[in-house]
Every structure is written in C-alpha cells, then in structure tokens.
C-alpha cells in the first residue's frame, strides 16, 4: 500500500495535529467522535494513533536516571555541604 497519499490527504493532516489531545482524552466529545469515525476508515491514521500512543506509554516506562553515590558525594563536596567540612 502506498503511503505517498498520506501527506496529500488534508483530513489526515488536520487530524495529525489532534493526535496528542485525542490520546490524552482532552478533546471534546464531538471532535472525538469525528476522529474515531475517520480512524474507522483510515488505516494509515489508525497506525499513527496506535504507534503514537505506544510511544508515549513506552517513554513513560523508561527508567528514571539516578545520580550515582560517588557523583552525589562529589556534588556535596563541590557545594561544601559534605560532612567532612
């Protein structure tokens, strides 16, 4: 299936801008319904919405970074807040 037509589809382009709000549930009901009607008939947009949702969820699961103990000690030393003052 050619996806060259995606960028030519105005409907799809307009909806792309609303994907974030749609996924976060911050659109009004009427707009949601309209988007869902479009998704029912547009495989490309369905793929974009699904993978966009997955992207956001994956990044929320990315482990947070922790400063190492040694770097923490260096930080306190630089700030002159270490206990060996």
């Amino acid at each position: 299936m050619s996806h060259d037509s995606f960028s030519a589809k105005r409907d799809c382009q307009t909806r792309l801008e609303l994907v974030g709000d749609y996924v976060e549930g911050s659109l009004d009901e009427a707009t949601c319904t309209e988007i869902e009607a479009h998704l029912a008939s547009c495989a490309d947009c369905r793929v974009v919405v699904n993978s966009f949702t997955n992207t956001v969820e994956l990044y929320r699961r990315l482990p947070s970074t922790q400063l190492s103990d040694r770097a923490g000690e260096r930080l306190l030393r630089v700030l002159e807040l270490d206990s060996n003052r």
Partner: protein
C-alpha cells in the same frame, strides 16, 4: 523539617537544610541534564553548576513560584547555555519554526501490534529510545524531558522554560511525533528485516 521551615533554613545558609534540598532534587536535575547534554560527564558538571547558582541566588528567592520551578528554571538555563557554548551559536527556545507542526509528516506506517506492556523494555530498546531523544532539537527535547519524562504539567513546564503553554503543547506534540518515527523505524527494522531493506531501496 517541614517545607517552609526547610526553605527558611536553606535561605539562611544552613548546610543541613541545603543538603536536604540537594538530596530532594538532584536526581531530577541530573536526569534532565543527562538527556540534554547526552553524556554523564557534562551532565554532572551541569548539575554542579545548577546547584552552585541556586545556592548563591537562594537568599533572594521570594517564593513567587514553587522552589522546584525556580530550581528547574536554573537547571534548564544551564543546560541550554552549555549547548550554546558547544554549538558556538545561539540556542533559541522561542523559534517560530519549532512551533509549526506542519512539517512533521509520518514516514513510517509500521503497526506495532503490541500492547505497551507486552513490549519488553530491554537494554536495546532503552538504548534506541535514549538515542532517539538525542535527535530532538534542544527546544523540543527540553519540553519532552520535563513533560513526559519528569512528569511536570504543561503549566509548570511553561513556567520553567519561560514559554507559553501553547508552545509547550505544540513542541511536545512535535517531539512525540519525531520519537514515534524513530521507534517505528526501529521496529520495522527489527521485526521485518527484509521489508526494511525493501523500504530503504
């Protein structure tokens, strides 16, 4: 020590109170610095510079914003100044081009048929995700990091970065779209090596 008392003590230079503030916020500041700088060495320097500046300026903190917002603003400025020095050029946050969503058109239509929970966040995927963050422009990256990785609200992110909430939303959206493209390319390559070769041809 309750928060108000802690702040008062920290403002007066009490080392115990200052150490507690550092302890409360160091991981967040480091996390942002690491994603903005791209390496632990520069991130650690940025972290140190952030807290040095903050401790120096703390006596003048008037409490018009939350302490964390104020601190994160200092951290963001340190990150962006460091990038400016590295790039030897200005790193603008308020560039109109970053706020124009028109040119982020999807190229990859890979259907990740997985539920996010089914996806094993293994070391390779984490590496890909971190590398993808590094491909974002500074203006998009810093919004994404504060909003989606550190969990600040739109309003807080706008306050930290000194940009409008509308700019935060647009840049977050663009960042997420770009990351979606990067991950889609990865999954296309991982799961369909033949198909990805054909797509590349």
């Amino acid at each position: 020590m309750n928060e108000e008392h802690l702040l008062a003590q920290a403002k007066s230079g009490d080392p115990t109170a200052l150490a507690q503030l550092v302890e409360e916020h160091k991981d967040t500041v480091y996390g942002v610095a690491l994603r903005m700088c791209g390496n632990p060495h520069d991130a650690e320097e940025t972290l140190q510079e952030t807290f040095l500046s903050a401790i120096q300026a703390l006596p003048r903190f008037e409490g018009r914003s939350k302490l964390s917002t104020w601190l994160y603003r200092i951290a963001s400025n340190e990150c962006l100044m460091r990038r400016r020095r590295a790039a030897r050029g200005p790193v603008e946050l308020s560039v109109d081009a970053e706020d124009d969503p028109a040119d982020v058109m999807p190229k990859y239509f890979v259907d990740w048929s997985y539920q996010p929970d089914d996806l094993l966040l293994d070391a390779e995927l984490q590496e890909v995700m971190e590398a993808a963050i590094q491909t974002l422009s500074p203006a998009l990256r810093i919004v994404f990091v504060w909003r989606d990785l550190e969990g600040l609200s739109t309003a807080e992110t706008a306050e930290v970065l000194g940009i409008s909430e509308s700019a935060v939303k647009v840049r977050l959206h663009r960042a997420r779209l770009q990351l979606r493209e990067a991950l889609s390319a990865y999954f296309l390559d991982r799961d369909n090596p033949i198909a990805s070769d054909v797509a590349a041809a």
